[in-house]
């Protein structure tokens, strides 16, 4: 390879000799606009169908509304000379320009996420050039789309009396309104850096602005307050400019006034969006937004970065997920429904849940219990011996670490499907395989069937993982089974097989507690109800048995437990179980890590690609697995006493 000089000679400051001398700021801005626009238009040309698809919606409006409201034109006072289709085309061109440009912020967010914007900002690229490029690209695509609509309207029978000049003015007005809304969308994207905000702005403004204009109906037929708004609605100005321009007798004076207003507005909006760069720069740590790592100060567990490993959660606002959880769980965890119906609905809900790419799910039977073995394609990280970084999946032969996870469902419903997503993410992140047992459910198989199955699977896992480590885990009722299993294999001094750790997500550990005792908690819980828990407990174990340590492991002697990770949300009827266990286990000298997520609901941790909290919980679980299963640790954890202990 020929020698290439990569850096400049070490002559100190100002080593750049290829700069255009005396380049003015304006010249630079124009040149950069040119280059950066070229980049965007190249991308556009490579995917021309994207443009075509984006006009599908207005085209449907055109022909649907054109037909549906054909007779509107006959309403007394509508006073329009032409067909309703003629009337509609300028309105739809304006609407299309607004709607499509309101998504411009999405590509801005994509550029931020990808690091492209930072690359430009760290270079001498002109800020105005960066924003202009976006504006010009929008103008070009708006023009193409508007012309498509004009052409289709013509094909459908619309007539443009103003001729080519009229159509050109109409398209130009649509470009202006596109620039206004594109710039605002870019500013929203850059300031809030959230796709949801852009969707919110779109849904908030789109329909009102559309119907408070003359796009579909003459304003003079509207109530007075609507007319007042419509006269100040920039979208309406565009509709009116377009309609007048293609009419037989355009009112050029009115067109000029409105176009001038639009141009002023467009320049102001672009100026605002350029100014948002400054704000962006003040808080450029975009990774911290939108579900980034939790604040990390002081000693203690590490901070959980979302950039870690293979998980990149598409984060939905918690308030929406919470609403969804409430809507769904009332239709699933309902004591009035037969168990069969509950199970079927839960499977319909969770079965088709998309799993991370490269996940493999294998069904097997371990000691007679059906299990699913979940692995997510990954590069085995540890390369102490053998070739470095050899790519093997944990499924091949002796996986180093096995996590046995028991699904929840009050011992009566549920299946491995509910935990598959969590299992796949954990597998990818922690480099382990995750085994999801399909233990027998009550009421057909009451206590101790589930406990027997749990023990059978854990014993098989310990038998198989000769060289590896086994962690038990469980959510909700599965948490009770996991803790029961952990209690069944206490540490032995001779280093015989034992569990490396135990992970409990929103565990149900005490079947004797009165869950209706705290009305405030009952109100806040969006997933569980006291009645449903009681129905489950009744189906699973008779009242006399419920205090047994194997049914309510919170009452067991906790000595000799492996390291525990307990995670729960505070808006969970079962949250007291998690807290009580943390305190009791820490008192018994167990290595406990206990995390509470304020405002989160029962089993929130199972969907790491929906909420940032679940992603951070998953990162913590992966950290925990890595910690307790570090090589050469099979003899058990050294006597550190209680770990971080109960916090919060």
């Amino acid at each position: 390879m020929a020698t290439v000089q990569l850096g400049s000679a070490p002559t100190g400051a100002a080593p750049i000799n290829h700069l255009t001398p005396n380049a003015t700021a304006f010249g630079t801005a124009m040149a950069h606009t040119w280059y950066l626009t070229g980049r965007k238009l190249h991308a556009l040309v490579r995917q021309p169908w994207v443009l075509a698809f984006s006009v599908v919606q207005p085209v449907i409006w055109l022909f649907l509304f054109g037909q549906l409201f054909r007779k509107v034109i006959d309403i007394p006072g509508f006073a329009y000379h032409g067909t309703y289709l003629d009337y509609l085309v300028p309105g739809l061109i304006a609407m299309n320009a607004m709607a499509n440009n309101m998504w411009a912020g999405m590509s801005m967010i994509e550029e931020i996420d990808r690091g492209t914007l930072n690359r430009f900002l760290a270079s001498p690229a002109s800020r105005i050039g960066i924003m202009n490029a976006s504006v010009v690209e929008q103008a070009v695509s708006t023009t193409v789309q508007s012309l498509i609509i004009v052409g289709l309207g013509l094909a459908g029978g619309a007539r443009y009396h103003g001729g080519v000049a009229g159509v050109a003015v109409m398209v130009a007005a649509s470009i202006l309104v596109g620039v206004v809304f594109g710039a605002l969308s870019n500013a929203t994207g850059m300031l809030l850096r959230s796709r949801e905000a852009i969707i919110g702005v779109y849904t908030f403004f789109m329909l009102p602005l559309m119907f408070l204009s003359s796009a579909f109906m003459q304003t003079r037929l509207m109530p007075g307050w609507m007319q007042a708004i419509a006269s100040r609605n920039p979208l309406n100005w565009v509709v009116q400019i377009g309609r007048s321009a293609v009419s037989a007798h355009p009112d050029w004076g009115a067109i000029g006034v409105r176009a001038g207003g639009l141009a002023v507005l467009a320049v102001a909006c672009v100026a605002v969006s350029v100014a948002t760069f400054r704000s962006y720069q003040k808080n450029v740590l975009s990774e911290r937004r939108n579900g980034g790592p939790l604040p990390c100060r002081g000693r203690g567990p590490p901070c959980w970065g979302r950039s870690v490993g293979g998980v990149s959660p598409y984060v939905v606002p918690p308030v929406l997920v919470r609403l969804g959880a409430r809507l769904v769980s009332r239709r699933v965890h309902n004591p009035r429904l037969p168990w069969e119906v509950q199970r079927r609905r839960l499977d319909m809900l969770m079965g088709p849940w998309p799993l991370p790419r490269g996940t493999s799910v294998t069904k097997k039977a371990w000691n007679g219990v059906p299990v699913e073995v979940v692995t997510a394609g990954l590069v085995r990280p540890r390369a102490r011996s053998g070739s470095p970084g050899q790519a093997t999946t944990p499924a091949s032969g002796t996986a180093a670490v096995t996590v046995v996870h028991f699904h929840g469902g009050g011992y009566c419903v549920g299946s491995p499907a509910e935990a598959r997503d969590w299992a796949a993410h954990l597998s990818a992140r922690a480099g382990c395989r995750v085994v999801l047992p399909e233990y027998r459910l009550a009421p057909e198989h009451p206590f101790p069937a589930a406990v027997d199955d749990a023990r059978a699977v854990v014993s098989a896992a310990l038998g198989e993982a000769v060289a590896g480590a086994v962690v038990v885990s469980g959510d909700s009722a599965g948490g009770g089974l996991a803790l029961g299993a952990a209690l069944a294999w206490p540490g032995t001094p001779d280093g015989a097989a034992r569990l490396a750790g135990c992970i409990l997500l929103s565990p149900w550990l005490d079947l004797t507690a009165d869950r209706a005792a705290v009305p405030e908690l009952v109100r806040r819980d969006v997933v569980l109800s006291p009645a449903w828990l009681e129905a489950c407990a009744q189906a699973y174990a008779p009242v006399a048995d419920r205090a047994q340590p194997m049914v309510s492991p919170l009452h067991a002697n906790l000595d000799g437990l492996p390291p525990l990770l307990i995670q729960c949300g505070t808006d969970d009827l079962l949250a007291p179980d998690a807290g009580n266990l943390a305190v009791r286990a820490a008192a018994a000298g167990v290595d406990v890590t206990y995390s509470r997520w304020p405002g989160l609901w029962h089993d929130f941790a199972l969907q790491p690609d929906i909420t940032a909290a679940a992603a951070s919980a998953l990162a913590q679980a992966a950290w925990f697995v890595g910690r307790v299963c570090a090589p050469d640790r099979q003899e058990g954890p050294p006597d550190t006493g209680a770990g971080p202990g109960a916090s919060g």
Partner: protein, 343 residues
């Protein structure tokens, strides 16, 4: 070192981010001082969240500090960000390449933004494509590139305008081991070129040890120590004695036996591995073996090693590197959970 030999000079940088749910926000930098001499690879080592990326963002004019001063190649970053941008190349953590454009198009656009024109920009792009083994992929869209190819293109983008200082923010994070090794070679080659100063941030101990001529360990927004890797390790007196115990050994007994010896100190037991520090490792080995034997424990193996950067990190921060927030696991970070014995 006179100030003209300094590629980067940052003093008392403070940066706080407002974060919902925290009253005073997150203090990402807490009085960070940094001096990077010209013409070397300088490593900024620390766990996730230590403040490395924030430091890079301030030095590359992407973020403004709340307090403090920063100079790159003698130019004040706060007062003249435009001039600084001309002399630096930045390879951020995220690939900044445009996936919908070809590799060569990305490079040419980058060159033009730096004011390069005409034939010289195309020649430079082809030169870098050849250098980074991307000539054959030059006309392909970047989204078809493998992770390693994309990362090489990112570095090429950073070098397009022949910068004096190159910032590499975690250049190998997310790469598979083969690509990582290749990237290491590439970075090491950059160092051997004349004049280029490289500021490399990493949370891989091994990467810092192998590549950096000099490094600073960052923890909670401050530089806790700085020096050459060998020098830092040398500050830790003596050697590390590592003993592998038989499977049935009693950790408590071992701790008692070794704790009583004058020849070793700081006994750390992790499963079957015991490590202890000694002023003279070679002399301590027979003493350790004899003491263990008297207690009825036959060591499976014993080794004497120089301290690692992990030991340096432990000394300056009071934590093991592996415990400090690097949740990512990879081949080069030693993830053993070490538990310190009572001292």
């Amino acid at each position: 070192m006179s100030s003209t030999d300094r590629a980067i000079e940052a003093r008392q940088l403070v940066k706080t981010y407002a974060v919902r749910g925290t009253k005073h926000g997150i203090r990402a930098l807490d009085g960070l001082d940094l001096i990077v001499p010209r013409g070397m690879i300088f490593g900024l080592l620390g766990p996730n969240g230590a403040g490395k990326t924030t430091t890079v963002k301030i030095l590359t004019s992407l973020a403004r500090p709340d307090a403090g001063t920063a100079r790159v190649e003698g130019i004040d970053v706060l007062a003249r960000p435009g001039q600084v941008r001309q002399v630096i190349g930045v390879v951020a953590q995220r690939s900044g390449a445009d996936p919908t454009a070809a590799g060569r198009e990305n490079l040419i656009l980058q060159g033009r933004l730096y004011g390069m024109r005409g034939g010289s920009v195309r020649a430079r792009a082809d030169e870098l494509l050849a250098h980074f083994g991307l000539t054959e992929a030059a006309g392909r869209l970047v989204k078809t590139y493998s992770g390693g190819m994309q990362r090489r293109l990112d570095v090429a983008l950073g070098l397009m305008h022949r910068p004096a200082v190159l910032f590499l923010d975690e250049p190998t994070t997310g790469l598979d081991p083969e690509s990582r090794a290749a990237m290491w070679q590439e970075i090491a080659r950059l160092a051997s070129r004349d004049g280029l100063t490289v500021l490399l941030t990493t949370h891989y101990l091994e990467e810092a040890d192998r590549l950096a001529d000099r490094l600073a360990i960052v923890d909670r927004g401050r530089v806790v120590t700085t020096g050459e890797p060998e020098e830092l390790k040398g500050e830790l007196r003596g050697d590390v004695v590592q003993v592998e115990l038989p499977a049935d050994a009693d950790a408590g007994l071992v701790r008692g036996v070794l704790g009583a010896l004058r020849e070793v100190r700081d006994v750390v037991i992790a499963g079957r591995n015991v490590s202890a520090r000694s002023d003279d490792g070679a002399a301590a080995v027979p003493v350790v073996l004899a003491a263990l034997q008297r207690a009825g424990i036959n060591a499976a193996s014993v080794a004497v090693a120089r301290p690692s950067l992990d030991d340096v990190y432990l000394r300056h921060t009071g934590r093991r590197y592996s415990e400090s927030g690097t949740a990512e696991r990879n081949g080069s970070v030693d993830q053993r959970e070490l538990v310190e014995a009572s001292k």
